[in-house]
Amino acid sequence: MPTSPVEIPLPYSPEIEEAIASLKPILQGSYPISPRALSLLLLQGDEEALDQVREQEGQDAFERAQAVRTRLQDRLSEPVEWHIAQSRHQWGQALVEGALERNAPKKSRGLGEWLGMLCMNPITGFPILALVLYFGLYQFVGIFGAGTVVGLIEENLFGEIINPAVTAFVERVIPWQPIQQLLVGEYGVWTLGVTYAVALILPIVTFFFLVFAVLEDSGYLPRLAMLIDRAFKALGLNGRAVIPIVLGFGCDTMATVVTRVLETKRERILTTFLLSLTIPCSAQLGVVLALLSGHPKGLLIWTGVMIGVFLIAGWLAARVLPGAPAPFYMEIPPMRFPNISNVIVKTLARLQWYFLEVFPLFLIASLMVWIGQLTGLFDLALRALQPVTQWLALPSEAAVAFLFGFFRRDYGAAGLYQLDEQGLLSGNQLLVVAVVLTLFVPCVAQFLVTLKERGWRMALGMLVFTLAFALLVGVFLSWGLQALGIAV
């Protein structure tokens, strides 16, 4: 049957076409793609295609197919893959050249493109990044969201109206004291689980996701990736890793899944490690901003420590795992004014997902604390953590925060919120705990994803390392602040 020209939009060089023709009688099985496409994959040495052919045609036919490929390669000066890719590339260009016409001079793209360029230029880009962080994160999420709004919801609404009512109701209806404790005790399901999840974490992440969605929809994030890529290259870090790392500020669990876009195993391991150790997720960032918003100097030191740890850990890890970084290439979408409905839909979808993930975990944590209190394990664990609080020069009450931090770092930080309200922590102590909890063990979900993506050994290794490292940095910081006589 003669093949119609339509099925072959592009004839390759005579050598390649001959090879395709000599493969034709070998390929007798049934394949999901046409014999021509399969032949081309075989000639390019595609492993999945080779496996398929070996499976369907047997070892003998497979070796004959391999021989065709070797013979073709001998006749060509460059690798077969290169020849095929070249033909396709030239074909595509010729096709478009014939169909493209200019009917107007290139219009200036105006403000959007100009702003986009400024975001990527290192001289203007970093000041713009600083402005975005200051207004978007510090002022909007930190001061307004985590300060004003949380204050209204957590202190006024929950603290003064809802929680006293719920407590009174539970105490009247359920006479049994342990159950009262489970529901409305100091770490009860309602007083701690629901209150923190709804009154503290939810408003903070809502404001954060809102800012994130605006940045995302405007096209700022890819430009940020380009900007930071340039800075990363100077440190010998790979640029593609910027994608999951920027996403990590939204949620480290999500970002750990996204490390799949990286080409080599080395880069995936490095990035997963940096995500586990140094990148605070939105909830954590929000709570830290809320805690330190009254201590701007402390916030500055916290930021400095995080950037320092990130750079040092990244640099060291890259040395431990040698290998060349892959080149970084990314399409840059246009800069545009964010679409309001996109922003709302994105924020809502993230919130729904986040809430479904966080809420059950907070309830389970309260339940486990209750069981621990009944059995005495809770006090035992707190006592075991006493030396840690002593090393860090913290009041012994702070041990609770670390214990909670094992569930989720932001949950631990939320525990600090209470201590801070009771005036139990000085600015320096607050800073030290914030640093330790940011670097602390990844949350349960992130750990599970790391386990799935990287395996047991890697996940456990990272867990132990981050724990030890977090405490070490905390001890140094606490000691350093004291030695230098700094009070924030």
Partner: protein
């Protein structure tokens, strides 16, 4: 749109009829595959103006003129010869699902670089509609693509769209319908 639709999603999905055919959306990262998926199915995925954000395969349904089609959004894919895991996932998806239709989404400004994948899909014998997305961006550059000329050379349906503002979506649905209802 937005909130109300978002809450209705679950109920809607149950009400869908039998899906008659499978459509796979594919193309390089960041050409608007997920936005297109959203426009066709009404289902929200991580629509993100950011490459590499669709890592998992997402499924949804498109209903048009009383018919229901299964739509699958794939992670990014530059070429039929996979380098990254996501490309491997996309290719396997394409070969195992044996879709009745593949929508190859390309950035109209960079068609020349993306046509090789279209070629590979045609060579493979897969049924393809080429979606020239971000056509508005091309026009803002003062350029025009002779779609008819391209269509003749490739012999596959071609639709020009600007997914973010909905331009061309209706025509695309019509083309899909025409293609699959034959």
């Amino acid at each position: 749109m937005g909130i109300k639709r978002w809450f209705q999603r679950k109920g809607k999905q149950q009400a869908e009829g039998i899906e008659t055919a499978t459509i796979v959306i594919l193309g390089s990262p960041n050409v608007g595959k997920s936005v297109l998926f959203h426009k066709l199915t009404g289902r929200y995925v991580t629509v993100s103006n950011y490459p590499g954000t669709t890592v998992e395969i997402t499924r949804g349904a498109m209903r048009y003129r009383g018919r229901s089609y299964k739509v699958i959004d794939s992670p990014g894919m530059y070429s039929f010869n996979p380098i990254t895991d996501e490309e491997r996932i996309s290719r396997r998806l394409l070969l195992q699902q044996k879709p009745e239709l593949a929508l190859h989404v390309v950035d109209a400004r960079n068609v020349d670089r993306m046509l090789p994948l279209t070629l590979q899909l045609i060579e493979a014998g897969l049924p393809v509609i080429l979606v020239l997305n971000m056509i508005d961006e091309l026009e803002r550059d003062g350029l025009r693509l002779e779609i008819n000329a391209l269509r003749q050379r490739l012999n596959v349906p071609i639709v020009a769209t600007a997914c973010h503002n909905g331009r061309g979506i209706q025509e695309l649905k019509e083309q899909i319908h025409a293609y699959l209802a034959r």
